[in-house]
Amino acid sequence: MTTTTDHHDPMTTPEVGGIGHSVKRHEDDRFIQGAGNYVDDIVLPGMLYMTLVRSPWAHATINGIDASAAEAIDGVVAVVTGELLAEYNLAWMPTMSGDTQAVLATDKVRFQGQEVAAVISTDPYVGRDGADAVVVDYDPLPPVTNPMQGLESDAPIIRTDLEDKGDNVAYEWESGDSAAVEEAFAKADRVVTLETHYPRSHPAPLETCGIVADVSPVTGQATLYMTSQAPHAHRTVFALVAGLPEQNIRIISPDLGGGFGNKVPVYPGYVVATAASLVIGKPVKWVETRYENLISTGFGRDYHMKGELAVTNKGKILGLKVDLLSDQGAFYSDAQPSKFPAGLFGIVTGSYEYPAAQVTAKGIYTNKAPGGIAYRCSFRVTEASYLIERLVQNAAYELEMDPAEFRSKNFIQADNFPYESPTGFVYDSGDYETAMRKAMDMVGYDDLRAEQAKAREEGRLIGIGMASFTEVVGAGNSQDYDILGLKMFDSAELRIHPTGKAILKLGVKAQGQGHETTFAQIVAEELGIPSSDVKVVEGDTDNTPYGLGTYASRSTPVAGAATSMVSRKVRDKARDIAAHLLEASADDLEWENGKFSVKGSPDSSVSIQDIAFAAYTNHPQGMEGGLEGVHYYDPPNMTYPFGTYIVAVEVDPGTGQWKVNRMVAVDDCGVRINPMIVDGQIQGGLTEGFAMANMQWITFDDDGNCLNAHFDNYMIPTAWETPRFELGETITPSPHHPIGAKGVGESATVGSPAAYVNAIIDALQHRGVTNIDMPVLPDRVWQALQESEG
């Protein structure tokens, strides 16, 4: 068991700026002066531009492509088709889930917006003219627009490219113990059921995806400036797809304008631009438009879920049964660990202790864009957390208990960690009751309930929703987690220079999380070198150690741990140099505040800076010179951040509109490296959670036309709609992480949607409303109220 506290005192001075200090961000100086360097800012001599031709149809046979009019336009250099790519064996590529995906369609198109041809031009405006002039002859086919339809016996088969594929099933998967679940359900007094759709959503970072591909016709060296959250993994994929020698591929992921999972997959545009540069011998730039980003690149969610919770009348949960139908789009391309076809959905048992759970899942091909990426989420943890938190709230209503009391009765107790869940996850640490009570105190829970009762008498609809989520993040231990066989450890390389200044190189890649500051703080904590003296380098495969990248809240749990460990390796060597300088035995030295001193003689000491200088000028004979190290960290377990969010809403019964009056978020992500940055992550996540609950979704009509491929109909909250947040914290360190930290970048996106929706349901449940699917649009609320009155 670990101890939970309400704050963490820094061990270093503010000047050193180690763990626990809200150090101002090192990366900000370039951004506030307009000197960020994003992919679209990169201009190379002789650079050409690529514009993609995309399918207007969701499902259609391609009879032929006539590019002659496009090729006749002045400034159009070439038109690339799938047929041409096929000559280089590049018309198809592997997905992150071991399926294949068309790079440029050859046989037929399988979703609206699919890549069909590419126009290479000397000017981007001319490229658009060229793309408009490419004539593609299509024969439309009937589309499959949802997974239920995809399962029907007469459904059109989408993946005719796969040999003997007679259905639209991408995968089937099962987890848990069905016999134990049957037993639990037989004992239950009642079963609470919830069927809900977690809609398709899109991460929509404000910077879209893009590449500048520069393949040298002289050396064969491919330098690819790419919007990549996982540059090393992408280099390996490129080596495998394109057959280029891996040492000749250098991926540079410069500043990224947000990612949220959108920049994890390898997209066709990257591959075509690289192939075009290879063939033409000039650099080629491709940057998506927003329309292209929303219609074709990695979506998140789109799970049709049925959950059943077996409970006793006294309010104890006995078991959980979940059935999932996943809308995969045309290619199965979830970017997730290979052992987990439905991601880490098994965390669906949540923050509660009961003996039996079972999950069955089917992934279905549909005529929609592929994706299934972990949108600000550790591989389907968001869907899982949403389902259990909605179910728990509804169970409380059925049992006529307060939802907080029902949670409290079923929480995994603080002295019961590590806790092994019925689906096989070993939760590292937690104290759910303390976090929930803190959130209830902050929001004034009892007063809010009293206000709600009074409002009901006046005919007003006030609701209080809660979510006490648990995440599983930080993939991960290599026996369980790999992507395409690549184990999900991560790395850090640290060199201390003669003047005591350091450079830290990482296998991960930030997209706004502030790694250049927080990882420097870890070095400061471990070595006493001020964080301002530590330069952090990421996103260049030639100049950083191998790693799987930044997503699924894995940077701090894995690369953060690697940074601690490499710092400690460097400190071990520093101790030997210090012993030489102090003419003492290494065993007689003690380490404090960035100095080694002889035990009992604090005046006899050398600082880490003195030691660094000696490592290059006066190191012991026989010892290797220099002061540096590298560490590949294979975590022993995942980390399990948790928290409780409470939302109070008022629903307008006349219009169905709802407004957030209060939003309290208590997060426990273990030790916080930089509290300012942690709060910033949570505020951003709470906003994306609100977006999903309130407005943000990708939907299609029956012909497979995407209805939300622009920001004027894919709604994102502005400052005006975004609720005000009240943040709180508890600190329960991870027992296995070197500095006790857990991931935090996704907690709020994972935990908050259920809190918002539970609040709306709480306002309406006395009228018999038990579910409204997200986004909870006013017309849906209004409709639910009409039906409940009827």
């Binding site: 900000d28 951004f31 307009g34 404000l206 329309y291 906003t687 502005t718 005006w720």
Partner: protein, 158 residues
Amino acid sequence: MQITVTANGTEHSADVEPRTLLVDFIRSDLGLTGTHIGCDTTACGVCTVLLDGTPVKSCTVFAVQANGQSITTVEGLKQNGDLHPIQAAFKEEHGLQCGFCTPAMMLVGSKLIEDNPNPTEDEVRWAISGNLCRCTGYVNIVKSIQLAGKMAAAGGDS
């Protein structure tokens, strides 16, 4: 068409196609890449610049329409080597994460505090409601703009 604009105090003349968007002119012809592009429908606001002192979304203005006018981009905020208070305040209050919306947010904020050095939270939120941010939840952007107002009124950046 021949146009002349003054960008961040420097006069530029150029021959542009009539269909060239101002944002592309700023980024490609002037090489000022701190102004970004985030959508196709004038929704996200990351391309916002000041045109004769007024915030405009430069993806919805043709370059030729800017003829004879002055343009201020993020690169023009710093004066005589000193950060504009809005720049200092964004760093101080952690008003940015990925940095992509930041130049536009700062330009809108700089105009707001010029007109109203002590804006309320609602006034700031309304002023930036044409600019999207996906990272921050706007909380610290609001604080940054309010702090910048105070700093500007005090006549310095610290």
